[in-house]
Symmetry: C2
Subunit: 221 residues, 2 copies
């Protein structure tokens, strides 16, 4: 499926076109912009055709293939961008260790909520792509893995300094909590199923994180 043309190709700019300088960069940008625009209208990802993308960018369908190897690659690029954006927002927090933990955790959750909330359409498309596109799945796995690693370290640090009690392996806990974040935020953004209101979602997630990390699951009675 990749069918990456075997012509002499430099470093490879992004996930898109393989050429380098030419003004055609605008075209690439136009395709991306069209994709995001269409996602905000035509609901399901599958309902957007290569032709829609091409026409939206003012080119023909074959020309589209000059810039991107497939429709999915376009959305992959969109998701890629967003993920990097979130990583940047998170970056600052990583250093500032625990001193006012609750505040730190809330900040971290807020960054996710805001970064992804600002591009709901892309988030939703990403979730769709993930189920059908192996590359998308791999990308998202990697991203989640990163968050889990961060959370694991944070939990372990809190345990070591005596702030949090010992408990199940930090990594397992981190996976459960990060997964919860993913699913709950998705539902909130997609206004799907039983969802938590946007105003409340960070508060609710924080509550679960704090009790899971710092609380003991002791049952009275």
């Amino acid at each position: 499926m990749p069918t990456t043309r075997a012509t002499s190709e430099p470093p490879q700019t992004g996930r898109g076109r393989r050429g380098q300088r030419v003004s055609g960069d605008e075209r690439e940008a136009a395709i991306l912009a069209t994709a995001e625009r269409l996602l905000e209208e035509a609901r399901p990802l599958a309902d957007i055709s290569v032709d829609d993308l091409a026409r939206g960018a003012g080119i023909s369908r074959p020309t589209f293939y000059f810039y991107f190897p497939s429709k999915d690659a376009v959305f992959l690029t969109l998701v890629d961008r967003l993920v990097q954006q979130a990583a940047v927002g998170q970056g600052d927090l990583r250093e500032r260790l625990a001193e006012d933990p609750a505040k730190r955790w809330r900040e971290a959750l807020t960054v996710f909520y805001e970064t992804f909330g600002a591009h709901r359409a892309v988030v939703i498309a990403g979730a769709q792509a993930r189920t059908s596109n192996p590359e998308a799945r791999a990308l998202w796995s990697e991203v989640m893995e990163g968050w889990v690693a961060d959370a694991t370290l944070a939990i372990e640090a809190e345990r070591e300094r005596g702030a949090a009690p010992a408990g199940i392996p930090a990594r397992e806990l981190a996976i459960a909590l990060v997964s919860m974040n993913e699913r709950v935020l998705y539902a909130t953004f997609a206004d799907d199923a039983p969802a938590i209101d946007g105003e409340r979602v960070v508060e609710v997630l924080l509550d679960v994180w704090l009790s899971a990390v710092y609380g003991r699951g002791e049952i009275p009675n």
Copy 2:
């Protein structure tokens, strides 16, 4: 898309064919069986064509449409079944109220793990269908809503009898926890991304449920 033929139709048996007695029931069953079998091989749902289903059941493609209105309807039926199965398994627990809460919660989680774990392929297909098929999305929403309602009641009951402390609205907490279950179990079954080992997953989920419901998120220091 439904295009339900307007011929005189009785009650409507399931989501499938509209006829009634005839031996063609075997055909319907064969299609369903083929669907589940193919899901266990050909990875993505999208890679299974109506033709595959038809051939697998020993009929031609047009004949398939006599039994099911579309490919999705077949998978919907599969999911429907599974969900009902899980409801049955859960049913017993609902009555037996809280006396050994930890044990009860563990049992409930175990039922999900085992019921869905026994049909991973269907679970995975359901998740895929949900992203692209409105009907599937609605069905799953309903199911989740049911679990959330149960969990909400259980949490409120525990709070009323003084076993659990007051906290954020029970429904919000229930949504977060049920969502976590969904996502984490899915990852485990699909062996996706950062996943928790099957042997451990119930234990881990239980731990988070117990601390979220019974614990206080107080941070020392």
